[in-house]
Symmetry: C2
């Protein structure tokens, strides 16, 4: 366990990369741009999955599974979607290997086994799913269809970073079909709200709900709702998106239904997704120079007990005590691990659990046995105190709630202090470089201005916030009239 | 909802294919050999996953995730494994599409975007995982590694059938690394026992635990443990396998560790998996000519309530009553759905729930409101009875247990009556064609005899049962000496 984690001020990007690897969350694999998610990282992802899955089911959705491959002819059917993803598609062209006649013990692609039609490894599943829905929908009685899929997808990105941008990533993608435009729009907004609630209540990450500008919209969508978070380095991160797809995919795949007036119409659609990218958001929102800081809701184990002993007898007595604590915590649904490894000293264990962000650490030594106390340490504040055994369980229960709340509050304070209203372009550029964070500014609504600002500053429009007030103003770049402010930021 | 399900005696294979589709479990997709798992089928798979995942974690395993793609050079490293899977590999050769200059609005593979090294879509993950483990293991202190992965895999099968054999399927694959041979062997057998327990207690499918003959072994394994089930048509189905891999993969990927005596040695390995094929086993073990029969443990909902009414007032009263039943069942952890659809008549609902195998059906009509009773129907026996409201919840709780047990007993009786001891080859062939099922016969242990028997009868050695007694005899085909009986059968 190395102590040499680069500090955030020294090099934020390096700090992130090192932390992901040293905290045993993930690592790069032998496959370009693809990561291995290690057990500790995957355990966090499983907790996210479980909560999201519960929320999806509570809002009436069911899970299903659609093929990994999309035949090229289906992939290209919805033109904008195809155009948006064509440049990052992994393509299967052959279905067999054979012994290489030139190289003993090596294999080569069998040239005889070429597919008649190439298969795209799904970068997203609208095409294969809407081609399937065509067979499921005849009448309004077949609607709505409210389906979610947990799956891997592949987007051949040129520059990748663990969790934030990988060629293969894990995600969920909801795909719903509706009889009316208003119902589909309401669904898209509902699921964006579900994502926001999940991010804030479960991940302790404050987010801004908004809609994307046209150029930042999902390829094939009519409207993209999103949640935007702010990382500690002042860069924004899109944490989830929910798309109102209009009738675009229904038209591309000819999915019509008889409505309740007996007339034929195209079906209305949404899709929405969050991915293992959320792991990156989690890490960059809460962690510090000593390592990961995990909100108790997402910690693989919420409490760890480290015994401090000089002989077997002491260890036995401490272990006994620890087992009692663990079973009482378990009754309250609190997960606690006893770190009884004899191969590591307490100091090394402390450092590891700090690095891995375990919310609470209990140390029990011989003195504690005598006094009937333990030492309880908080990972987020690094504060320590001695707690009497009889108060311990109640104390832990309260602290876990406190930590969850305070992590959110801290992130919210940071975020809110990094939204700056700006009305001229010189200040815009200065704030972006010095203060960083979101800039709330007027925009004339044109893609040209958006593009120009991006070229000049690397800032993009993160969203038009759902709660943006009507306010007459002039565009921060063009000086043209504008009716409300939007949020700009540099982004991951 | 069609009533025209082909009967099992008429055409078992057709019955199966129709049932999978009509019960809304799965359907074929636009991608050759790949299926869409529909929400009702996926809900059953989720129940299997949850229980297996619980069992894996209880036996000390953690989940992780490894890349979908395996670079060809890694894939070919373990020669037997590579040879075993080379003929069914989907291969990614390119990473980009572009507009087709010859066809307006169409895409083609960008010839400039050819990968330097082809990527195999994982047919199984030993290669990519052992290449990763190499970086994780230095000393015996790093062992054991006990990891499981839930994932999709692709094997380009020429003849596919929903759930039983599909080009893409969902599975879990455990991959463990150990310091000693005996520990790895014990792990492989332990996980085969976990599969057996899961199949019997949870799926109500009796299985025979055994080891595979050399020619039926997993490519790259030293020993393959398996569980074998018997379907209603007398054909066997391999329901799960657990492999002792020896040091084969450690040698292929050069994974050495310092043992507790300070000496370098290769690491010992296991891998084990079950897949969506279990859905096929489930369907073919319990279902009947009216449709699916589900063990209560796996039913997406265990009880359904159908209201029978002539007017709104009756429907309201029945709905009230139903809600009361549902909430009392929920307290006991029993899932119950109210089928209040106004678009379908009770008869159609009955047929659908029969087809979909809901274990218990409650019908409530106006007479029942008067008498304070309900009609309760069992899906497995198709028996019906009137039950007083005050007895209902206890009755349901008891019946769900009874159904789970009786389904297992029924399958066990069928299975046990279809294991036939045979001592000459004429009888062997006759039993195989007329009575079907497992044939317990002596075998001389040679691959030649095994192959010959397969050619002549299509029967393969399903396993050498773990509990096979030492018994002197002569091979049913060659007449050579044999020390114990093995199980032959035609198989899925």
């Amino acid at each position: 366990m190395s102590k040499n984690l680069t500090s955030r001020t020294e090099d934020y990007s390096k700090w992130y990369n090192e932390l992901v690897v040293k905290a045993d969350l993930a690592e790069n694999s032998a496959v370009r741009g693809c990561m291995v998610i290690k057990p500790y990282g995957y355990a966090i992802w499983e907790k996210m999955q479980a909560e999201l899955d519960r929320m999806f089911k509570e809002t009436g959705h069911q899970n299903a599974y659609f093929p990994l491959f999309v035949p090229k002819s289906l992939f290209e059917a919805e033109e904008k979607n195809a155009e948006g993803f064509a440049k990052e598609c992994a393509v299967v062209t052959h279905y067999r290997l054979q012994n290489d006649p030139d190289k003993e013990g090596k294999l080569r692609v069998d040239p005889e086994a070429k597919l008649e039609e190439e298969l795209v490894v799904r970068p997203t599943s609208e095409a294969i799913i809407w081609n399937t829905y065509k067979g499921w929908i005849q009448s309004y009685r077949d609607l709505p269809i409210l389906i979610n899929q947990w799956a891997n997808v592949v987007r051949w990105e040129m520059r990748t970073r663990l969790f934030l941008r990988t060629a293969e990533f894990l995600w969920q993608e909801g795909h719903t079909a509706h009889a009316t435009e208003s119902e589909a729009l309401a669904e898209a907004e509902l699921m964006n709200n579900v994502y926001a609630e999940f991010a804030e209540k479960f991940m302790a990450i404050p987010v801004i709900k908004g809609i994307k500008s046209e150029s930042e919209r999902f390829a094939g969508a009519v409207e993209t709702f999103c949640i935007e978070a702010l990382m500690q380095d002042g860069k924004a991160l899109q944490a989830g998106t929910s798309h109102f797809l209009g009738q675009n995919f229904a038209k591309a795949f000819d999915v019509k239904f008889t409505n309740n007036e007996g007339k034929l119409d195209y079906v209305w659609a949404t899709s929405w997704g969050v991915s293992t990218r959320l792991m990156g958001a989690l890490i960059m929102t809460h962690s510090d120079d000593k390592g990961l800081v995990l909100p108790p809701n997402l910690a693989p184990f919420q409490v760890v007990i480290v015994p401090i002993y000089k002989n077997e007898e002491q260890l036995t007595a401490i272990t006994d005590k620890a087992q009692g604590i663990i079973s009482r915590l378990k009754e309250l649904g609190i997960s606690c691990k006893f770190d009884g490894r004899t191969t590591h000293r307490p100091g090394a264990k402390f450092a590891q659990h700090e690095l891995q962000g375990v919310p609470l650490r209990i140390a029990i030594g011989p003195k504690d046995l005598e006094n009937n106390t333990v030492e309880l340490a908080r990972r987020d504040t690094l504060s320590k105190e001695f707690v009497a055994m009889e108060d311990l369980v109640a104390k832990i229960k309260g602290l876990l709630k406190t930590i969850q709340d305070e992590l959110f509050d801290k992130a919210l304070t940071f975020r809110d202090s990094h939204i700056t209203e700006v009305d001229d372009f010189e200040t815009f550029k200065k704030v972006l470089e010095t203060k960083t964070g979101f800039i709330s500014a007027h925009w004339d609504g044109s893609a040209e201005t958006e593009q120009k600002i991006k070229e000049l500053t690397k800032a993009t429009i993160r969203c038009i916030p759902m709660d943006a007030k009507e306010e007459a103003g002039t565009c921060v770049y063009s000086g043209k009239p504008s009716s409300r402010r939007v949020l700009f930021a540099k982004a991951y």
